[in-house]
């Protein structure tokens, strides 16, 4: 036997990939079914052109493709993955899809559709007449012992709506090439978003291959699914309101929820966004309560209703099960379906299928003895194909036309032509897999490309005013604006402070300025955190450490914690922000992640500048791409409220500067507010505090002036909804109060700032008269527009020992 030659050293021949793969198969277990090669070592149907294209790229070309795919994947990950502690899926997407030819697929397809019919019929009996238990056709004890069997769901599903509208099934192909089922996903069937993502990424990274392949497209399936959801509605059947119920950004599956809601163009809602009243489900929006007709549920059964199900759940809506029971809202899937996921059911399915459907079960379950088949997967260098074990999650949905029919028909369900495939031991979890694959089901004829935008079927209902915006979303947008602005102003102050730090000991004025800036940044010595007085930091080293601590994670007002707040709010409104804005958030996140207290002062300064520039890019993109309705207005109000408060407190600090560095500090004020150039152009002169004050307070043409910002707040607030609310008066009064203070200011008195203490007093009075009402304004806006829902509580806690 010769020593193995590293494949990177030899140029593989035209059939090199396949030959190499065949050799590896030979060393494995001969006779095991392989997805790529038949028993004679010949390529199976559908792989030829795909492999040819990948072969022609060469390993370098493939590696470039791979890197492109990974880049897109990472970007999507950050765009959609909202989970704090993970950095997206750890997997890579193999450039070689899993090709399944039509004949093989049809076997699987028929089996899957039958399984959905079977489980739907099973649900109806388990939660209905319960004849199957006493007939000995069910594992009674296993079902009763399961925490997924929910007694309150007994006869809760109206008979005119199917219990199962969407079904995820995990399958593998066994060593003989037979499809075998590993498990069912019904409560919150995840993976559709990933399957869709993989397909879209493949199409982007390998456009030629994708365009020419006669493969079945996915869009039609999801289009149908949307129609199914719509057809479930009891009311507003022309244009029902469908929401995707998510546990929220804390869920590891939030990625998919956001992705899917976006793709299906439906609202993403958390339990706390909704309420049951009058036996119906409603979404809390800025314009009041809006009816919800259909819930696409991505929240586990037991957590959906703290009244009848788990009382300790904060994720559901109290009364939801009763609303579903009384046809006040349609659920997809019905509550209680989790019991059908029980592995103990597997052995009973063949008899159940005969009993309930009068048909033999088409797809057998896998068991401990099931040996998997093999399929080709590229190694991480994209040089060789290695035989691997693939899991496949398939998706089945109820056909739109069958939603309102009673009884079961063979074509009640249809299967997505594709799915999510991942490498791993049979039955392993997809999220922990290192490699995923797109699944190509070949068609006999080229398939038309279906646009993501569905063809309209009903009347167009414009919601241009945006009063249907959930209150929580408005609130998050408001705080997104505030935190963005706060982060920006801190980054600017830090930049100035770091510049002075770099000039330390060269100039007394610069040194004093640094002290003022440390005060403005509210930085104290680390040892005296508990005291009220903030002793000045002494010496270069101490100041340097304190400043750079702002680039760490421990200080609450440091850049990273502020960014984390921004990100938290941004995530919960993901579906209201454009993809481009999200790319900037991603870049910001990468930049912020790299910050640490051990960087050099000059690197830290550059980081601050980059941060400001990217924040400006983010808000700029929001301004350019978000419709200027209520959501955008709240974000804008948040930004300008924070900005004006930041400027006012900086001015106040400058006025009271204990170290009196005079004009130098005013220069810093101009620099941190980015008004230095404006000042120079306007006055072409030395610094005069009076002139600076005019520019920063009264000049309404200067977007950084208090006058401009108050005008902007006024304009935005005038257009907010709900002018009849009693709180609106408070909100308006506060703004009028601030405006009056500004307009009635005695400019003559203030203008002798440098000379008289009276002028200083007058200015300080003015600043206070502005700060007080503006501080109160934030609360007034909250009260008037954001529903401050107390978390619903249990009358009697029914939580026994767990």
């Amino acid at each position: 036997m010769t020593a193995p030659v590293s494949p990177s050293l030899i140029e593989l021949g035209t059939a090199g990939l396949v030959e190499d793969y065949l050799n590896q198969l030979g060393k494995g277990q001969p006779g095991t079914f392989d997805a790529l090669l038949d028993r004679q070592g010949q390529l199976r149907l559908g792989w030829q052109s795909l492999l040819g294209a990948l072969e022609a790229l060469g390993s370098n070309g493939r590696f470039q493709q791979h890197e492109e795919i990974q880049r897109l994947l990472a970007e999507n990950g950050v765009i959609f993955n909202m989970h704090d502690d993970t950095h997206g899926r750890a997997w890579r997407l193999d450039p070689l899809p899993w090709v399944i030819d039509q004949a093989q697929w049809q076997t699987l397809e028929m089996g899957l559709a039958q399984r959905s019919r079977l489980l739907n019929a099973l649900y109806n009996d388990i939660y209905g007449a319960r004849t199957l238990f006493d007939a000995g056709l069910l594992p009674t004890q296993a079902i009763l012992a399961s925490s997924h069997f929910l007694l309150p769901c007994h006869s809760s599903q109206p008979t005119d709506r199917p219990a199962i509208n969407f079904h995820g099934v995990d399958v593998i192909q066994d060593a003989a090439g037979q499809w075998r089922v590993f498990g069912d996903r019904l409560q919150a069937p995840s993976g559709t978003g990933f399957a869709l993502e993989n397909r879209i990424l493949m199409a982007r990274a390998l456009p030629e291959m994708y365009r020419n392949a006669p493969l079945k497209r996915l869009a039609g399936f999801l289009d149908n699914y949307h129609r199914t959801l719509t057809a479930l509605a009891y009311q507003h059947r022309d244009n029902p309101n469908v929401v995707l119920l998510t546990p929220g950004p804390g869920s590891p599956r939030y990625f998919e929820h956001a992705y899917l809601a976006n793709y299906l163009n439906i609202d993403l809602a958390e339990g706390q966004d909704m309420v049951v009243r009058d036996g119906q489900l409603w979404l809390r929006t800025l314009g009041g309560l809006q009816p919800v007709d259909v819930v696409l549920r991505h929240c586990d059964d037991a957590y959906c209703d703290p009244l009848e199900l788990r009382g300790d759940s904060q994720l559901g809506v109290p009364g939801l099960l009763q609303a579903a029971r009384s046809s006040g809202v349609a659920m997809s899937n019905a509550l209680g379906v989790g019991v059908l996921e029980l592995p103990e059911l597997a052995d009973y399915l063949p008899a159940l299928c005969e009993h309930l459907l009068g048909e033999p079960l088409l797809l057998a379950n896998a068991d401990g003895n099931t040996r998997p088949s093999t399929a080709p997967v590229f190694d991480h260098k994209m040089q060789r194909l290695t035989p691997s074990t693939l899991n496949l999650r398939c998706f089945v949905s109820r056909t739109p036309g069958s939603v309102n029919t009673l009884g079961q028909q063979p074509n009640d369900y249809h299967v997505m032509p594709g799915g999510l495939a991942w490498v791993g031991a049979p039955g392993s979890s997809s999220l922990s897999s290192p490699v995923v694959k797109d699944v190509w089901v070949t068609a006999n004829t080229p398939q038309p490309h279906v646009s993501q935008l569905r063809q309209a079927r009903g009347p167009v209902v414009a919601t241009r005013d945006g009063t249907d915006l959930p209150s929580r979303v408005a609130e998050s947008l408001f705080w997104l604006g505030r935190y963005g602005e706060r982060l920006d102003s801190r980054a600017r102050l830090l930049r100035e402070a770091l510049m002075r730090l770099m000039e330390y000991d060269q100039d007394d004025i610069a040194d004093q300025l640094l002290d003022e800036l440390l005060l403005a940044l509210d930085i104290t010595t680390l040892n005296n955190a508990g005291e009220n007085t903030r002793p000045l930091l002494v010496g270069f080293a101490q100041k340097r450490t304190a400043l750079l601590a702002q680039f760490g994670k421990s200080e609450p007002q440091a850049l990273q914690p502020l960014f984390a707040q921004l990100l938290r709010n941004a995530r919960s409104v993901r579906d209201h922000l454009g993809d481009d804005s999200w790319r900037v958030v991603h870049q910001l996140r990468q930049r912020v992640d790299m910050l640490n207290p051990s960087v050099s002062a000059s690197a830290a300064r550059r980081a601050c500048e980059g941060l400001s520039a990217q924040l400006a890019a983010f808000f700029g993109l929001c301004n350019e791409t978000m419709p200027h309705h209520y959501g955008w207005r709240f974000m804008d109000i948040g930004r300008f409220l924070d900005r004006v408060l930041g400027l006012l407190s900086l001015l106040k600090l400058t006025l009271n500067a204990p170290h009196s560095p005079g004009l130098a500090l005013w220069e810093v004020v101009l620099a941190t507010t980015d008004n230095f150039t404006a000042y120079r152009r306007r006055y072409r002169s030395e610094l005069h505090p009076e002139a600076i004050l005019d520019l920063l307070l009264f000049d309404e043409t200067n977007p950084r002036s208090v006058g401009y910002m108050l005008k902007r707040l006024e304009r935005q607030m005038d257009k907010l909804p709900g002018s009849s609310s009693p709180y609106r008066n408070a909100e308006r009064r506060l703004l009028i109060q601030a405006n009056a203070a500004l307009h009635l200011a005695d400019i003559d008195r203030i203008s002798h700032l440098a000379d008289t203490p009276e002028a200083q007093e007058a200015l300080e009075q003015l600043l206070d008269d502005l700060i007080t009402p503006l501080n109160a304004l934030s609360d007034a806006i909250s009260h008037s527009h954001f529903s401050h829902i107390e978390r619903p509580r249990q009358l009697v806690s029914m939580e026994p020992d767990e």
Binding site: R130, F133, D134, A135, G136, L138, T140, Q141, L144, A145, L151, P152, H154, S155, V275, V276, R277, D278, G279, P306, L307, E308, G311, P318, G319, Q322, R325, S326, I789, E790, P792, R793, Q794, L795, V796, S797, M798, E799, P800, D801
Partner: protein, 295 residues
């Protein structure tokens, strides 16, 4: 016996409640030995939504929702009821192990429902050991169950200050004190730990005023006991708090696996702050000629 049952549950909240969804199990169910007249139900304030259904145990469940601001909640039910005595107990019954063994393989839903763990009651060896002092090898089921009922009655102390809803069953067993609900839970846990089915019954018990004194209104109490399955005879209701077989004097409200399934009033509300609870129960015996339930 004919009774008029009156059951009032009243909550006072320290802060306004803006929305409240509730589920009440206060409408008595029909049983083999009990017929109920039409209940007179008064909820105050008047709920915006109200619906009645049967739960999986066959109990009557009342859902209602208050959607306007309120600071008290009062649910009062008055039901005329007729109870019949329990038939004679079977003369013989099989050894308890034999029945436990048969039931182990029984697939019937209603049998297994009451044999397994439930929210407040988990089977364990401690409970099984306690049960075995009555369930000695080969002893007939009926005799053993009656002995268990008697054992709890004789060795447990009725002490309302000792337990709350959250007290674990093991504490009740160790300290041998509690209230009717705890005693029922202990007996159920003991039976289930041996593989026998047992269900929790909530209801009422007529209390006798001291000799020479009139009945006090609202002085009666809710009561709880249990039932276990005697094959070929039916569910035998045992009241370990009083050491008796529950019968004519035990009007039934609802049953389930344990207290969690039959809590008289559950709710989820917004607002409310602290709350105070008042419960008033009257079990008023009627002579046959004053009232006869309509059905």
């Amino acid at each position: 016996m004919n009774y008029s049952l009156r059951h009032t549950t009243r909550y006072h909240y320290s802060a306004p409640v803006t929305l409240c969804h509730s589920e009440a199990r206060v409408l008595p169910r029909k049983t083999l030995h009990q017929r109920c007249g039409a209940s007179e139900l008064t909820i105050s304030p008047i709920p915006q939504m109200q619906a009645e259904r049967r739960d999986v145990f066959g109990n009557r469940v009342l859902y209602f929702a208050m959607e306007e601001v309120h600071q008290t909640l009062d649910v009062t039910v008055v039901t005329p009821i007729n109870t019949q005595p329990v038939g004679p107990l079977p003369a013989i019954s099989a050894a308890w192990e034999q029945i436990a063994e048969q039931l182990r393989a029984d697939n019937r839903f209603d049998m297994q429902l009451y044999r397994l763990d439930s929210p407040f009651i988990r089977r364990n060896e401690e409970l099984a050991t306690f049960a075995r002092s009555c369930f000695t090898p080969g002893r007939p089921l009926l005799e053993s169950a009656l002995a268990l009922n008697q054992l709890i009655y004789e060795t447990f102390e009725y002490d309302p200050s000792f337990t709350t809803l959250a007290t674990p069953l093991s504490d009740v067993l160790t300290n041998r004190r509690g209230v009717c609900q705890d005693f029922a839970h202990v007996a159920i846990g003991a039976l289930r730990s041996l593989g026998l089915p047992a269900r929790y019954i909530s209801g009422y018990l007529e209390t006798q005023p001291p000799p020479g004194q009139p009945r006090l209104i609202g002085a009666d109490a809710s009561h709880a006991w249990l039932a276990t399955w005697i094959p070929e005879w039916g569910w035998l209701a045992l009241d370990p708090t009083n050491g008796t077989v529950a019968g004519e004097q035990h009007p039934v409200l609802a049953w389930g696996r344990d207290y969690a399934d039959v809590a008289p009033l559950k709710g989820v509300m917004n607002g409310g702050g602290e709350h105070q609870l008042e419960v008033e129960v009257d079990v008023i015996p009627l002579t046959t000629d004053t009232a006869e339930p309509s059905s």
